[in-house]
Symmetry: C2
Subunit: 439 residues, 2 copies
């Protein structure tokens, strides 16, 4: 707490972009400025807001003369102390951020796409400028996960980070599981409520979660992981049948982003990692299974710390703005103390191919219920080193279906098994193939 009556130091903020997050931030700064000044002695002043269309009506507590279309001029303005980038996308965000960092201005960004593609370049620019590049809001919205990974767990031997990091898909899957909605209906409802875009591809195909997985893997394992390194599958193929089977077996279907480290953790040598996004059946006793609706959560496993989970709102204007504001205070405090927190870019990650990754699987096949079918099918699993943990048959005759849950098996072997099953006369269809997460 600062001495009562002592003058606070004014920090001039240049805001690039004024969509949901930008306008929520400008409002939040206005609301919280007195409290922040009392706690830290810092008082934020919006120096300029760069937007595409300055004449658009916005309900903001700042003079409209602060609106400009010239983002580069905001970055170049010597009277601006800190830059907040909430434009999104690669360009012009990238050039603006690099220019700001090189000129010694700290940058706070919520841009996951940028960090997941050219993060290392930005980290290096920050280091060259000797200033902060902070991006808490880019990984999981309001959930503080970047700071714990960068600081609290820097000494921890983290071997897996696993998260529900897309609120749209978690909302859809929750509606499907709890209210029996079809995928199409749940998606339409998410669109109506503003949780899903008109073109939902980035969410439902796992691109958004993949970008966040790349950022979290980079931080957790100290290596450069980019969006293109992430294997992903979406949720569009999930059916009510899958959900019913999951419930019966004691699972909940979630779209997971998983980053695992296979070597190199103890010695600090170059680790090999796997990074994937896919829908999986998560055992009901797992803390991630109870993350409902549009909430997000990140589950971190470390050798000494054990299991940790961070839960909250992964998107939305005010939650994202809250994370940006936390970073802004941090950047301004560091600036006042003439210091910064470097993010080590690390070497490029060695990525283990998805073919070589191991998981348990749920496989649901449609078969004729002839005598000996199970023996034939089980033989295919066995020949491919895929061991069956449990099995359930449903229906009779040509309508029969068998659901298997396997022990941990290599993706390549499971794919071979499925290919061979598909060629069997007694198998008419492979209805579902989902990974299973027990713990």
């Amino acid at each position: 707490m600062v001495e009562p009556g002592s003058p606070s130091q004014v920090v001039r903020v240049g805001v690039l972009g004024c969509g949901h997050v930008g306008s929520a931030l400008v409002n939040l700064i206005d609301e919280r400025n007195n409290a922040i000044a009392a706690a830290t002695g810092l008082r934020f002043e919006i120096a300029a807001i760069a937007v595409r269309n300055p004449s658009r009506q916005r309900d903001l507590p700042v003079d409209s003369s602060l609106m400009t279309t010239d983002a580069a001029a905001v970055v170049a303005d010597d009277s601006v102390d800190v830059i907040v980038e909430v434009i999104g996308g690669i360009e012009p965000a990238r050039s603006l951020i690099v220019d700001a960092l090189k000129s010694g201005k700290p940058v706070v960004t919520a841009n996951k796409e940028l960090l997941a593609n050219v993060g290392a370049e930005l980290y290096r620019a920050a280091d060259a400028g000797g200033v902060d590049l902070l991006f808490e809001a880019a990984a999981a919205g309001a959930i503080p996960i970047v700071r714990p990974l960068r600081e609290s767990l820097l000494g921890e031997d983290v071997h897996r980070v696993m998260g529900i990091v897309n609120g749209t898909t978690n909302y859809i899957l929750t509606r499907m599981a709890e209210d029996g909605a079809s995928y199409a209906d749940a998606l339409a409802e998410a669109q109506q409520r503003g949780y899903a875009e008109r073109d939902p591809t980035a969410d439902v195909e796992g691109y958004d979660a993949g970008a966040k997985a790349a950022i979290m893997a980079s931080l957790a394992f100290g290596v450069q992981v980019v969006a293109g390194d992430v294997y992903h599958e979406g949720i569009a193929a999930i059916t009510q049948d899958d959900i019913a089977f999951a419930r019966r077996f004691g699972y909940t279907i979630k779209l997971l982003a998983i980053a695992e480290r296979f070597s190199g953790g103890e010695s600090g040598e170059h680790p090999e990692i796997g990074v994937c996004v896919y829908p999986a059946m998560v055992a009901d006793h797992h803390p991630l299974a109870s993350v409902r609706g549009s909430f997000n959560a990140v589950f971190v496993e470390g050798a000494a710390a054990g299991e940790l989970m961070f839960y909250g709102r992964g998107a939305g204007g005010p939650p994202t703005a809250s994370a940006v504001l936390g970073d802004l205070i941090d950047a301004a405090s560091n600036l006042r103390r003439s210091t910064y927190s470097p993010v080590p870019a690390g070497p490029r990650a060695r990525i283990r191919s998805v073919d070589e990754l191991e998981s348990a699987y749920y496989i649901n096949i449609e078969t004729s219920d002839a005598p000996g079918v199970l023996a034939t099918v089980a033989g295919v699993f066995g020949r491919n080193q895929v061991s069956i943990r449990s099995m359930e048959q449903e229906g009779l005759g040509d309508e029969a279906r068998i659901a298997f849950i396997t022990h941990g098996a290599r993706e390549r072997d499971v794919q071979t098994t499925v290919d061979e099953l598909r060629r069997l006369d007694v198998v008419s269809d492979i209805r579902s193939l989902l990974r299973v997460i027990e713990e």
Copy 2:
């Protein structure tokens, strides 16, 4: 990542205390030193370990000559860069920490008792010495909650922090709920497994949780809260009846530490707060309800961020050592950059008396099943402004019991209601009185 081959900077650590946490830390530093050096350029060296009994056999990867009984000499040693205090208790920990801070040595501590009683004195000593006082391990073990509250959420208008911050009691309550164990049996089992002390008072009566509540309230609201400010009730009176009723109504009984702010959040003026520890019926849909066994979790509610939860291991040697190590890296990095993160002590909190706090309640009374009893009982509630939300009667005749759940009501009014009910002829006993948390 540091340039390959570049020499790392040696940071000499003086460890005060070598119990579960201290020995886990010494082992962890040994295991993680290469990885930490690769990531940060810092290499820790144990300079000395102060213990009561240096001849005790310890399986530690350090030379036994580093053991000493002279903790003050470790603090005074100019070659020691950072002090870790894991002795616990008030003295000599307090004097040693103050001496270290005043002499310009950063201190990392896991000592919740100390921080909850003389935290402000320590914060001021750190500020006077211009060094870090870090205590992530003191609030919730391995769960990163101190850093998020101190940094990520510094700009956030936090209005409530609510946690399961004692693993012993959560283990006991989980065993009672899931396996039907009695309180006495569950406690005995917790003692056998080493989760509970031989004298379990500090855990089961809520003193341990109270100290953590004081620390979290101080950080969340920027005021000084001490252990003595915390109202607390323990779990020893919880019965299988309470658990059965809770399950039927859709709740799980948890020992909660709750810190709430009633005013002052927006403007930065002196806030009034409430800080309590008590067993409560938590609605099953609440994320805290699914925190099982010895796990801990802290639920934070902010105006912009929304609901956040931090989950993990709140105790145990390696998890606590992991949090200490995170702080140690932070302190050493700051030392290298000649900076530190001050903790503002804030003014003394204005504490709202528990009598004035509001909550919903569960009240279970034993009554004769005479006609008109319910009207008489309901009349008592009504006269005291306690509004009944739901009611369930069980049994007949002299054995009849009625369970009520109220809407939010003032503690003082509920206590008056209970006193008046107790004096009624038709009420033979007040069996239970528990607070209810819906959201």
